[in-house]
Symmetry: C2
Subunit: 227 residues, 2 copies
């Protein structure tokens, strides 16, 4: 994966240009989703132009994004769907499967545990964690076991869990994040509202649902202040 350090500044990984990196990986994810559709439909090759038209994307952006990670296109052919799909899965680190834990077995945690899209994309929700005694030992509808939070470190090691999803109430979020980081997990997807801090070397992505709704509400208030 050295290929991504293109600038020659070995000491300055791409993470320093965080927003770009984040937007690029998000687009790679979208391309992968499109290629999955094409592959399932039996399409063998696709041009950046056809990909762009079919999925409402930007052809020049596709070529630029993919060229950044290597030369995948073939002149006169475009991209081989299966091959590009395999490359993207490799770049995104999901080619060998990634084990994920859900922290919190409430409504949201249970819905996330059974979210059907994850497994198709190489993610496997292998465990949930909670502190409520009446939940521990049970399973989600899809069969994900609910463990005692106190067993986190043990289960993380045994199941090789690499990503934790935080779905606990806001008041418990920071404490759970600390526990998760202390157990050696270095990538966290946070669904709890409010700010949480992570130690250096741990990557945090926050999805505050209320923040998203407020951003939409702000748009409506500006677009039409009288209603």
């Amino acid at each position: 994966m050295k290929r991504v350090h293109k600038s020659g500044e070995q000491s300055s990984p791409r993470d320093s240009a965080e927003p770009v990196s984040e937007l690029t990986t998000n687009r790679l994810s979208v391309y992968l989703r499109c290629l999955n559709v094409l592959d399932a439909a039996g399409v063998r090759t696709v041009s950046s132009q056809a990909l762009a038209e079919q999925f409402h994307l930007n052809a020049a952006q596709i070529r630029k994004d993919l060229a950044y990670f290597g030369e995948f296109g073939v002149r006169g052919v475009g991209y081989y769907v299966k091959e590009l799909r395999r490359h993207l899965r490799q770049i995104l680190g999901i080619d060998r499967g990634v084990s994920v834990a859900i922290m919190g077995a409430g409504n949201l945690g249970l819905a996330l545990a059974d979210y059907p899209g994850f497994r198709d994309e190489g993610f496997e929700i292998v465990a949930m964690f909670d502190t409520a005694r009446e939940k521990i030992g049970h399973r989600s509808r899809a069969g994900v076991p609910i463990h005692d939070l106190r067993d986190l470190r043990k289960v993380v090691r045994r199941e090789r869990i690499r990503i934790a999803v935080i779905a606990v109430p806001a008041g418990a979020a920071q404490s759970v994040v600390n526990t998760v980081a202390a157990a050696g997990i270095r990538a966290i997807l946070n669904f709890s509202p409010g700010t949480v801090k992570v130690p250096p070397g741990v990557k945090l992505k926050s999805m505050d649902l209320t923040v998203s709704l407020e951003s939409l509400s702000f748009f409506l208030a500006q677009a039409d202040p009288t209603t």
Copy 2:
């Protein structure tokens, strides 16, 4: 709300600088969340410095963001918590409550319908919509009614629904988004994976859970390519 058009370019609303606007409103949401905590704790005034320290934020950024919308700070006092909270709710357009519909009454839709944070922040999930006959007429645990998708336009008008949350399978997303836009809803929060298109004048925010996990997986693959 004219105050937000500061540039003098009346013909170019802030939407053209979308990423800035989006980041700013996201920060306003975070400040509001912090002020809620302080207000609940009985704190009456707070300085930008104290706010920053307590919630791991940036004091200069707070002052800049808030000054953009008016002069809320008082020299030697800081901000009045209740007053600033009221102003922020007004700026975000949630002071009079915003009615929200959830499209799709599956696991995710049901979890979102009962997400406890929404109502506290001025959002009310007033309806869910589905096409499955066995779901129509039932309610979520918290009591949100599940309507027939065919009644969308009627219910939107009656309940003054202004935001729709898309929680249907990927294959149905674009068709549901089209139906929602045709019913007059101009703000959409999309949880379905893949790309969807909205007509001009409709604001779309996408929260693809798989994309978020892939961005974390990409971070792990880069940080430690050998594992």
